[in-house]
Amino acid sequence: MQSKQYSIKVYECSIDDEEKFISFFNTNYTLFKDHLIVINGYLSQNIKNYLNSKSLIFINNIKLPKGRSRKALEKEFSLQKRECDIDRIIAQTELEKLSNRLQNNLRVIDEIVRSGREINIDGDLLLLNRVNSGAKIYSSGNLIITKLVEGSIRCDGNFMIIMASPKANIIFHGVKIDSKFLEDRLNRVELKGEEIVINPVFRKEINWVS
């Protein structure tokens, strides 16, 4: 389907005196020639002939849809936008919940990460062994390390689970996490809105990812 949408100018009037009408149109012809003429009420053959001779387009007794005022339009727009925003926020929180659970390209590494090794992972990473001094880890997704870290780790995911590691260099979303905020067990470092929240993980909490 091909369609076009455009605005036209309309001149709407009703005729009381035919002589007056014709003389008015004659004088203002240049103004009206681009308009659609809408005539309400009775339309005589005489006027019809006159309008045809001037090749003006006219219609009789028709109700045209009228545009609303600018203010009304703006009000409606803002209302729509707010609804849209609310929808987006709901969708985002749903997605966040989902991606908390979601394992994006989960990689599991069950070997000691020795000095000089660099691991760059686009997705989630689960490390089941030590990260030694001089090693570098980066994960764009969530990061869980179950043993002591002495190297440098960087995580840009929703959360990170690590032990207190005084020798490590831990960076979460560009913020350095000081080991004094971490307890001597696994800790969940989480991004909630604009804040980084750190909570210890208790052994009874089997479900690490909520």
Partner: protein, 270 residues
């Protein structure tokens, strides 16, 4: 077919060459045919520690280039008939090594000896890589200090990725020697504990060697400390050599000295 053991450390000055000399002699004393090879091309030291300085005629580079046969180049130890020594070249540098030559040499050594012990250069450059390339096992020598451990950790990482055995899908056996332990410092917490080191490096411990002033004198005289019956380091190397030969010997806790027991007693009476 013998077994090839590379002795590595990453950091220099931790006692690799001393360990090679003592373990070579120790293994030979256990009745095994043993060859010790100095791979530290350009910085030859092992000949001095073994006291064979003036007997070197041909070196490892000449053997690899075919200028001398292996039989001609191997030097017999003065103290033990089972021990042979192959010297490094002092004039060349490690760039003369290449994988094919090294492989050929190691194959030949393996056919003639029960144990081939390679003394690796410090660092992780090409000389180190050639030493570990065809090794069946590695002994990692560390001192109980952080820099030595980090360098050893890096060296193990390279060992696990670049050795031929790993490339063929196998695994290089790795054993740890903690050298120059000062028991008093370990007890006062100034020196890293063995357990912490084992936690970090995560490899099997084959022995602990305490600090012993006799080692320097022994090296200077060209008589490895293992020959000294009263030396505590010598005894430690004896135990490690026996373990390498498959004997079951309990790990001696060198961190606990007699003096510390005395101190404990003093503590009780206070």
């Amino acid at each position: 077919m013998g077994i090839v053991i590379a002795v590595i450390s990453g950091k220099g000055g931790v006692g690799k060459t001393t360990a090679v000399a003592n373990l070579g002699l120790g293994v030979a004393m256990n009745g095994k045919r043993c060859a010790v090879v100095d791979f530290d091309i350009g910085q030859r030291n092992l000949d001095m520690i073994l006291g064979l300085e003036n007997r070197v005629v041909y070196d490892i580079v000449q053997v690899m280039d075919g200028e001398a046969s292996l039989k001609q180049a191997l030097i017999k130890s003065k103290v033990n008939d089972n021990l042979r020594f192959l010297a490094a070249s002092q004039s060349k540098d490690k760039r003369v090594l290449n994988s094919k030559k090294v492989q050929k040499l190691i194959k030949e050594l393996k056919e003639n000896f029960d144990y081939v012990i390679l003394d690796s250069p410090a660092g992780i450059e090409s000389g180190f890589e050639h030493t570990i390339e065809f090794a069946d096992a590695a002994i990692i020598v560390v001192n109980p200090e952080v820099s030595s451990i980090r360098d050893a950790d890096r060296a193990i990482g390279i060992l696990d990725s670049k050795s031929q055995k790993v490339k063929d899908g196998g695994e290089v056996a790795k054993y740890l020697i903690i050298n120059r332990i000062v028991p008093d410092m370990v007890q006062s917490g100034e020196m890293l504990k063995s357990d912490d080191i084992l936690d970090i490096l995560n490899i099997k411990l084959v022995g602990k060697v305490p600090e012993d002033n006799g080692v320097i004198d022994a090296s200077n005289q060209g008589k490895p400390v293992i020959l000294d019956k009263h030396s505590i380091a010598g005894q430690a190397y004896k135990r490690i050599s026996a373990r390498l030969c498959g004997k079951k010997i309990d790990m001696k806790d060198v961190e606990v000295t007699d003096t510390s027991i005395l101190k404990k007693l003093v503590g009780i009476f206070r």
